[in-house]
Amino acid sequence: MSETNGFEPKIVAYVCNWCTYLGADLAGTSRLEYPSNVRIIRLPCTGRIDANLVVKAFEIGADAVLVSGCHPGDCHYNAGNYHARRRWILFRELMETIGFDMRRLHFSWISAAEGKKFQQVITEITEKTIALGPYNPYGAEPRVEPLSPMPQAAAGACDPAAELELRTAAKRVLESGQANVVIGYGARGPVFITRPDDVDRLVWNANCHQNLATYLKRKEIRALGKAAIVMKGCDERALIILERESQIARPDLHVIGMACNGMGQPKCAACDTRETRFADEKISSAQPPADMPDRYVAVDQILAMEPADRMAFFTAEFDRCLKCYACRQVCPMCYCERCIADKNRPQAIDTSPHRQGNFAWHIARAMHLAGRCVGCDECTRACPAGIDLRLLNLTLARTAEQQFAYRAGMDPALDPLIGTFSLQDKEEFIR
């Protein structure tokens, strides 16, 4: 056709079986013509359509993707579309930050009675995509954008008495048999104290920034039996999530809460959990900083760039990824026995350290951490390639807080962000 200049866009539509698929059927029965570029993939419900599928569509060269299902209240399965909508809100924010061309990603509710709407939506998406031209998000020229450094908090003074108190507590816990192992900080990284005589190996100083909760998932640690763990207020949030996800039995865990005046990390600048809230015993005390900077200033900095620049920036970042999975290994929330990245039937995420697979991995990882990441920033610190992974986690944490008043691990009573929904979830992006 002349107006396309020979460009035939590839449009992938993931649709639910009961509304949009039938809407497309009705468009057929009503002989409502629309451009032929769309390829429909039928799924039972929008609840089944996850971020990986959308990313996959762009990987195989889609110029635009449509996700469409039943209107709110009409879901054949009661609530699949509500669950989907919440995930899409988060997913869109993530893609926005990464710099995907959001004009290529479409969401709609099309009922079985809306053959006309199906025709309109497909026609408009096709025309729009033709106007935009071919798309290859993975073809961006990588470019390192200088980001102004994150606000660093000065390391607060550590109470020397606290270290002594900690050792005494650890000794008591081990001697009384309350725990078989104390997980704490040592002079050169984590220590796992099993004998009361060794408690002097425990330290409490300005280098204790790591979140030790990650060791609770390790088989070799679990094999030691009941554990006591040294936790800061920020680390403790991870325990709340892990308990919620049935990964730890909180009554079996003895938590020694250390008050912390900041460890000089970016996360410390806006920290409002300087003391543990649910620890079994608390040592020392701390005050939140007087003036609290915006927690999400790094995201604003990214979003201040043009989408193409953001894409160039993240392409440069992800291009350095070695797929060493240090980020996964160190994350307290990554405890799956078999990671989706290691699942090869089908291969949702390309394992070789190439651009597409790197994008797919980091998007999937961020989505898995939505509403779960407690912002310990271990992934960023562990990354040997220095990828600023924090930006992705912060993006979703920001969305969670701003749109759903949800902060991971803050309120143990709150239902998880993903897996629940509200009828009031915003849907201005869905047509």
Partner: protein, 666 residues
């Protein structure tokens, strides 16, 4: 290498007109794994199906793609054909090249290209299709009906008559529900008790109906065919097996001035009472909040008087478990509380009508008792305040209904009819009296319904004013009703002796808690949600749980009864075989890789996923995991999306199938 057969249908000219069949066949024949590519004018016709069957046999096909119309149209047809030829039906896929292609594209070249692509996707998918077998779930062929009003009684009797046992659970001391308290019913004016009480007796005496009155559902476990319901039998303080129903206890009870629940406060009853003479079971109950013996170990006269020794002051609530295969919910309605006190903040009352303040402003169910031959006034119309016969009665329709300002925006459906009935019943007993009605619209759709309303107006002379009442005040023993006649455009003031308010219908108390126990949805007004408003009107989204009567929406007796029989018939369908057969396209969880985070458990709209412990043969715990209950899963796949390790998957739409389709587009 798979052996896939592709069968391209012309659908007469429907597909062939815009899709170049020959070209399509040629291109799909080259797809790796495709053993043969055929085409025929009408694949769904006998010769077409025969061709598929023949090729499955001769080419030993292990997968089939039929490229024709929508799977919603003919998937079953073709899967049956495949099964007949010995191929597992779930290894057949359809490529929709009619609705999604030939009918919506005019350009032959484009349509042909798209058709080839659509078939390519289906071929990619069919290569990963698992052979599936229908899931069999054992069925306990025994039903529970919750609520013993007219709908519940009807449902219970229907199911029992079909030969199945029924457990009927009623919250009140007697079955009968609201209808037992009605006077006469529209549009025939036949006596409510004359119709209902024989049915109550029948239900009470039926050999296959087990009656739990004064009992409530405590908890529900299990799933279709296999529910276990715990019923709380509230302490009645009367052994209903020993009791003969003689009524001596009520006669000797000194505490006779308690407002009768059955008469909606229009009459009195003792502390030990039978709610009404025709109660089923005809056994009394002691109100523990009133009985002097229970409160302060006083009195005890009834115990002394009771010859069979049926009184037991030490009675306690009992929990009993019942195994049933299906549940019918028929919990009915209550009236909107007109006064200030409301059940939720968004609903407000009508302070301006003085209900609760003026004794002679009553609601419609109270009027039913006053006008009922078995009521506290023996059917003589006497107003509550002084027992005088009211000369002028004002009836106000839509009190609460269709009133956004009060928080209820729905129509209660039956008020127009019963208000017309009320005017008639009143006029038939007080011939010189004047009945006036304030209404918004008259909604009298139904067999002989509009004729009935016309009769009230034209024959019995009820005065109908289209308009609302703004305020009711009391002056010198008269109720001053200030309203408007909007048709005449004039204000109307009536000095009435009594006012009857047609209050909105609300679902019965505790409906939301019950719905949560049953995992059934309810709307913003608390009415239970049917699975589909038109095609599945008595099913709910929990398989095996059905609804009927006013708990689903406001409705009148004929409708409630019809719906009850519909629900009963659905129960019978469930019980038709020893095993239920369910579609196998549901979720499966790989327990080996499951990390037991239970995101799926929290997300599943059907509560179909359970936490399980995997144990070695010697009993040591290996790990925790999630497992799909095949009786509950509906196959939406929401669990797959939230599963971080993708240990969950949906048969028929597996990850491998979906990704193979997307990748076929590369």
């Amino acid at each position: 290498m798979s052996r896939i057969g592709v069968f391209v249908c012309w659908c007469g000219e429907n597909i062939a007109r815009t899709v170049d069949i020959a070209k399509v066949v040629e291109s799909v024949a080259e797809i790796p794994g495709v053993r043969c590519a055929m085409n025929y004018k009408y694949m769904c016709a006998d010769p077409g199906q025969a061709m598929i069957r023949e090729k499955i046999a001769s080419e030993k096909l292990d997968g089939v793609v039929v490229a024709s119309c929508s799977p919603h149209m003919h998937m079953k047809t073709f899967r049956r054909a495949a099964a007949a030829a010995g191929l597992n039906p779930y290894r057949l896929e359809m490529a929709n090249i009619r609705e999604h292609c030939s009918w919506v594209h005019a350009d032959k070249e484009e349509a042909t290209r798209k058709a080839s692509d659509i078939i390519r996707l289906a071929v990619a998918k069919v290569g990963y299709d698992h052979a599936l077998n229908p899931i069999k779930v054992p069925v306990t062929r025994r039903a529970m009906v919750i609520g013993g009003g007219v709908a519940g009684i009807q449902a219970a009797l229907d199911v029992a008559e079909a030969g199945y046992e029924v457990v009927l659970v009623e919250r009140e001391p007697s079955i009968g529900g609201k209808m037992a308290g009605l006077s006469e019913t529209f549009p025939t004016l036949d006596c409510s008790q004359c119709i209902l009480t024989p049915r109550m007796v029948e239900a009470g005496q039926h050999p296959r109906i087990k009656l739990y009155t004064y009992s409530e559902v405590e908890s529900v476990e299990g799933f279709i065919g296999n529910f276990e319901v715990t019923v709380r039998k509230k302490a009645r303080y009367v052994d209903i097996d020993k009791c003969t129903g003689c009524g001596e206890c009520s006669k000797v009870c000194p505490l006779k001035k308690n407002l009768s629940e059955f008469d909606y406060g229009m009459g009195m009853r003792p502390a030990i009472y039978m709610p009404f003479p025709q109660a089923v079971p005809a056994r009394p109950v002691i109100d523990k909040t009133q009985c002097a013996k229970i409160i302060r170990n006083g009195c005890g006269l009834c115990e002394k008087k009771c010859a069979p020794g049926a009184i037991n002051f030490k009675d306690e609530d009992q929990l009993v478990k019942e195994k049933v295969g299906a549940i019918v919910v028929a919990t009915g309605y209550k009236l909107y509380s007109i006064g200030k006190k409301q059940e939720s903040e968004k609903i407000t009352g009508y302070g301006e009508y003085g209900y609760g303040k003026y004794k002679d402003v009553i609601d419609s169910l109270q009027f039913e008792r006053i006008v009922s031959a078995s009521g506290p006034t023996n059917g003589e119309i006497k107003r509550p305040s002084d027992g005088k016969t009211p000369e002028k009665v004002v009836f106000i329709a839509c009190v609460g209904s269709r009133d956004n300002a009060k928080g209820l925006n729905y129509c209660s459906k039956i008020c127009c009819m019963y208000t017309a009935k009320h005017t008639m019943l009143y006029k038939h007993k007080v011939h010189h009296g004047e009945a006036s009605v304030f209404y918004m619209d008259i909604r009298s759709g139904g067999k002989n319904y509009d004729e009935f309303v016309r009769r009230a107006i034209e024959k019995d002379g009820a005065k109908y004013y289209r308009g609302r009442v703004s305020k009711i005040t009391e002056e010198n023993g008269k109720l001053i009703v200030r309203g408007a006649d909007t048709l005449a455009g004039v204000p109307v003031t009536i000095e009435a002796d009594m006012v009857v308010l047609a209050a909105a219908m609300r679902p019965a108390d505790g409906i939301e808690e019950l719905a949560q126990k049953l995992n059934v949805g309810y709307d913003e007004n608390g009415f239970l949600m049917e699975s589909h408003p038109k095609l599945r009107p008595v099913e709910t989204n929990t398989a095996g749980v059905f609804v009927c009567g006013a708990c689903q929406a406001p409705k009148d007796i004929p409708e409630a009864v019809a719906q009850a029989s519909a629900a009963a018939s659905k129960v019978m369908v469930t019980f038709a075989a020893n095993e239920l057969t369910r579609e196998p396209e549901i979720a499966v969880i790989n327990e080996q890789t499951c990390a037991a985070c239970y995101a799926c458990v929290r997300t599943c709209p059907y509560h179909a996923i359970e936490k399980v412990e995997l144990r070695a043969r010697n009993g040591t715990l290996i790990k925790y995991a999630a497992r799909v209950n095949q009786g509950l899963c509906m196959g939406c796949g929401t669990c797959v999306s939230v599963c971080p390790s993708k240990s969950a998957d949906i048969e028929g739409f597996t990850e491998e199938e979906i990704y193979s389709m997307v990748e076929a587009l590369a």
